[in-house]
Symmetry: D2
Amino acid sequence: MADVNKVVLAYSGGLDTSVILKWLQDTYNCEVVTFTADLGQGEEVEPARAKAQAMGVKEIYIDDLREEFVRDFVFPMFRANTVYEGEYLLGTSIARPLIAKRLIEIANETGADAISHGATGKGNDQVRFELGAYALKPGVKVIAPWREWDLLSREKLMDYAEKHGIPIERHGKKKSPYSMDANLLHISYEGGVLEDTWTEHEEDMWRWTVSPEKAPDTPQYLELTYRNGDIVAIDGVEMTPATVLATLNRIGGEHGIGRLDIVENRYVGMKSRGCYETPGGTIMLRAHRAIESITLDREVAHLKDELMPKYASLIYTGYWWSPERLMLQQMIDASQAHVNGVVRLKLYKGNVIVTGRKSDESLFDANIATFEEDGGAYNQADAAGFIKLNALRMRIAANKGRTLI
Amino acid sequence: MADVNKVVLAYSGGLDTSVILKWLQDTYNCEVVTFTADLGQGEEVEPARAKAQAMGVKEIYIDDLREEFVRDFVFPMFRANTVYEGEYLLGTSIARPLIAKRLIEIANETGADAISHGATGKGNDQVRFELGAYALKPGVKVIAPWREWDLLSREKLMDYAEKHGIPIERHGKKKSPYSMDANLLHISYEGGVLEDTWTEHEEDMWRWTVSPEKAPDTPQYLELTYRNGDIVAIDGVEMTPATVLATLNRIGGEHGIGRLDIVENRYVGMKSRGCYETPGGTIMLRAHRAIESITLDREVAHLKDELMPKYASLIYTGYWWSPERLMLQQMIDASQAHVNGVVRLKLYKGNVIVTGRKSDESLFDANIATFEEDGGAYNQADAAGFIKLNALRMRIAANKGRTLI
Amino acid sequence: MADVNKVVLAYSGGLDTSVILKWLQDTYNCEVVTFTADLGQGEEVEPARAKAQAMGVKEIYIDDLREEFVRDFVFPMFRANTVYEGEYLLGTSIARPLIAKRLIEIANETGADAISHGATGKGNDQVRFELGAYALKPGVKVIAPWREWDLLSREKLMDYAEKHGIPIERHGKKKSPYSMDANLLHISYEGGVLEDTWTEHEEDMWRWTVSPEKAPDTPQYLELTYRNGDIVAIDGVEMTPATVLATLNRIGGEHGIGRLDIVENRYVGMKSRGCYETPGGTIMLRAHRAIESITLDREVAHLKDELMPKYASLIYTGYWWSPERLMLQQMIDASQAHVNGVVRLKLYKGNVIVTGRKSDESLFDANIATFEEDGGAYNQADAAGFIKLNALRMRIAANKGRTLI
Amino acid sequence: MADVNKVVLAYSGGLDTSVILKWLQDTYNCEVVTFTADLGQGEEVEPARAKAQAMGVKEIYIDDLREEFVRDFVFPMFRANTVYEGEYLLGTSIARPLIAKRLIEIANETGADAISHGATGKGNDQVRFELGAYALKPGVKVIAPWREWDLLSREKLMDYAEKHGIPIERHGKKKSPYSMDANLLHISYEGGVLEDTWTEHEEDMWRWTVSPEKAPDTPQYLELTYRNGDIVAIDGVEMTPATVLATLNRIGGEHGIGRLDIVENRYVGMKSRGCYETPGGTIMLRAHRAIESITLDREVAHLKDELMPKYASLIYTGYWWSPERLMLQQMIDASQAHVNGVVRLKLYKGNVIVTGRKSDESLFDANIATFEEDGGAYNQADAAGFIKLNALRMRIAANKGRTLI
């Protein structure tokens, strides 16, 4: 067992990380620094302070990271139209590198030599936390209690809590049967009935969105203003990044937008089913493609599309803090210099419908695209030569007897 | 001007290709063979026979290609989850190589030395027709009247028709202001008000789908059975490929599924706005990803995702009949050997919601994925080593003073 | 410690694996089956039999795998012009999956529940052996003594050998200071003075090739005949795959061909310097590109080039027995259908010079390529349209004020 | 025929472009501005001035572009280890965009509305010149005489010259039978006996290098110093980019380095055989990989390798002045921040042998890489977990009955 003096714990204030806090103190006989972040998960973070104090913690960090999260992590990711395995908008993945970064910053500030987190040994999050931590502070010790202790069932955890006087809140409402994670970008659900891939998800699982069935019968129009690939205003009102996303979450949620039920491939090797609500992100993905469709060069757009799966995998697997992600980001960011303009959307019962896009930097040229006479803007005869030379290699091959069918 | 003896014309029976037919006869003083295909565009093809005969055509081909179209073109394309520029399902693109192939087969049967088509000199379709034709018969002559003649406005075309006694049908209903193309996979709209990217598409433009607003208030569940990556049954009823697609079009259309309004990048260099209705295809894309999610290996899936944009571009730009498309297809098809099983969907007002997927060849292992105790199926301690070695290169770099932030 | 009944050991007969044999017997109290392969490493394999017998081994496998190695592993790899990190021809990497396969086959035949090997915990080979083993027999136990025992220095190993009566051969010649690996494709050197990347490799390290300085002053010409991408004859004499490679090794070695000194990135995360002699492989790589240059379609060739780094990484990191490598292989093999013909080479003091290539399936068309008048085979005017349309997107952008400089 | 007032001609002073000069004056009745560049082709550029004056040209540009060429074109390209189709170092391709840029700059300075060049309608160079010109000045007219006139044989060209009093220099030495192009990066040969792919190139064709057979018997050692991926000093002597390349050309040429004989795929569709001498470039490619091998992160290096074929194709096909090339360049340049250090090479009779590389920013860690005891720098036990989790997906598949063989 590593010799640890002081450990920074990613602390939610909930039961699991409270048990971890106690367990760290007892097992490592070390000082614990708690770090609680407001990433827009929709729960109060201040209660964590009293709980930590009650367990004797002296250095308590409670940070509102919402703006940083959206500005430096969510927005850059959406510049690439990032989707993992064709569906997943990476809501959990993109929050982890920010937490890793803060854990290390706090470790440096407090002189801690270790960090700890509540992620299990089967999931992606442990990888994301730890790769980030090692990349930013290579000598740091990492304590992952779920990989070390023997409290592997809920009963044992409860027993431990009871035995050590850790308060177990018993709300009137039933404990959710799902393992959940939330931040400004999404809320996720795993476990429970979802562990059978054929069983339909339950309607009362969803927390952020109404069902399309319950959404308003009247569509809502929305205009999103882009600057360098990021949304800076909604319906003409300039907003900070976090406000943009919160607003889109609220509106999207009202219209039943952004539910997803998938089976994904975890980095540690197994398939896993997850349900996600990403109302704002779902809107942003569609809208960003729309503004790019008139402002990006074709080959730049295609190159981005070809690199996107790789970029998405890097984020999913925890390599945000890696030189290859940074290298890709430089290219992605550079591509956004002209991605300015406005996209008009219509939201209706789960649908995000693009109804218009405009830009001072639009590359759309109606005069050339038109089916009407264009006054010589485009010489149709050029197409013959274009086709002939593009076909040449295939004609030579066919002439020499190669067959395709 | 090329010396032409006999030309096979892709003939719809409509005004434009009727004018072309006449123009070919007059201009090239050659025999014309007409070829009219039923690709599921929803219009009668037989009327083309009488029209062609009336213009003196002796060799008339009218083919029902619906099954071949879906089985050999649409289904293979969907095995790759193919989407062009993140949105477009390639409904027009995928029909062109089949037409090109038939044009050449008929040219070979009838001893024709040329082919002709009604695509303009500004679009992608001329490229798709001609690349296919050249690849399959390298010495063929291609006559593209829109690139050659001076009938470049609708008025001139009408004048020509009138002057040459080509009947202009004047329905009660107003001529559509859109340039349209339809086949079993989709119907497309271009031109008219769509030439302003900011103007919303008009509700009465759409022909195949009701709007989500008008779709039924009751969702419909659907079970799709896959064999080697293709749908072979709907709700347990085995069907031919064309029947599968026609059925999904009907159901999808009833539920307002599959409308799309995008600006795309044409191969000939300009941006162009198109609206598309692809009800069945929209369902198939979502469902195919779902069945793959439990039956495909992770790295195979990711490799497919990385190659998809390239494959989509090849189809969009007309390289179906190319050795590189065939090479990719071999890999794609090979990946589908285990893509068998059933996907359950819920359709509701424009939404395609996956609610379950199962397969005898599922790679989902609930025992390993579970958050509950798994009886040793997975050793959580392995994760520590996994992370440590994946982090090693970044730790070494950080130790040597490299910084990421 | 795992409970093991019978283990198949990859046994060279040398000191290290002899110690492992003994250590397995003592530590696991299990039966050991030895497997010794002739992969063309140039050492006798039969002596391993007596040594194994002397240690009480009852089931002894000694296999000549040279033909299988070249036919099913080396040749398929060279079809892709495979090079890792721009330089390394993967000589060690490509042999491991064959050994893994045989270990598992023998385990199945002998009812063994475990395999063992002599690769260290720092290298790539452990990964290659074990990924292959797990992929082919998922429940197999793997014993990697170098990761388990405490005999981590040469002294301890020698002590252990002496203590347990394992004969230590002391040749007259000094023990090589290098860690070496050899098979028909190459011989490799690591360690010793090579651990300083600035120090020049020593001339007397190399074993298979003369130095270019010592190579003959007279060049040698060679004609290689290809069938489906593989060499089937040298100077017109048909040969088996292993004979082809052995012959090229001999000739290449005489001419000082195929030495390499690089720093490579290991899968487990660190950089490592290696020196390699790959005389036959160096010739094959150059020649294969030459035969492909006249027989492969351009876009097929480019697609292969784009996928090669991925394919090379899969082999380097041990994923030969993975579905994604198999999927890529199908595409690569399919591309070789027309890769038939003859390449003429000139070998001289380390140089492999292509001097000619011909094929009945050549796509080279002198009539079209010529700078002389071509009698209309190619219409130069086509180029204007080709260029104009390829430039269109950039012209539109420039017209709208976008700047590139 | 386009209406042209003033045209800037890429003028070498040789026979072909002199004929073009005259032909432009006569055919277009326009003013001609000549532009002659010293790109290190090894011929005097000043004589072009008198010839142009003699034909009445008033605006004559003669530029020494050698430093700009190497600094802004050659060096950036080598940062990516760029090779087209596995062999070609793009010596001709990389010079064209600089000429295109200067043609447009001069057109802007002189108020010319057209440019002209002497490239034929069958080659890549016309594309490279014209794509660059259109991208930088979208409205420019391009006159490509070889695609327009009827002087398609050498005889007709000579006749035209004689008739119009254009001096035809008749050296004592026989006119080369090859079409050649030279600049500081290389000299190329096409045509003549090379049009038969089986015929060996002739020894007396080569102009820049001695044959390996004639190279010195004594090897030469060389130390190259890198700063941000570019060579800044040779054997410790700081030099400008053009001097670096000229020096490496001289030394490499003396040692018989950098000859190449290939069949390549032209952008316009046919295969073409070319011979190239690139002595300095051949040295630079090998050396750059060597300095990157110790200073680049593994995944950054692999990403570069995966993107290189695309980047090479962009340069080969003339898209230097495109947004996608610029986007890739940003990523490539960013990757070179730490590519600093020294590479030691040994040159001998055509061989470029790396014998050492060192860097203050080396990521090579002898302590971790060593086969000796490392004092705990690396925990070998980590490898077990690393392998286990990397194998997990394949083990699950095998457990469920999937087979690989």
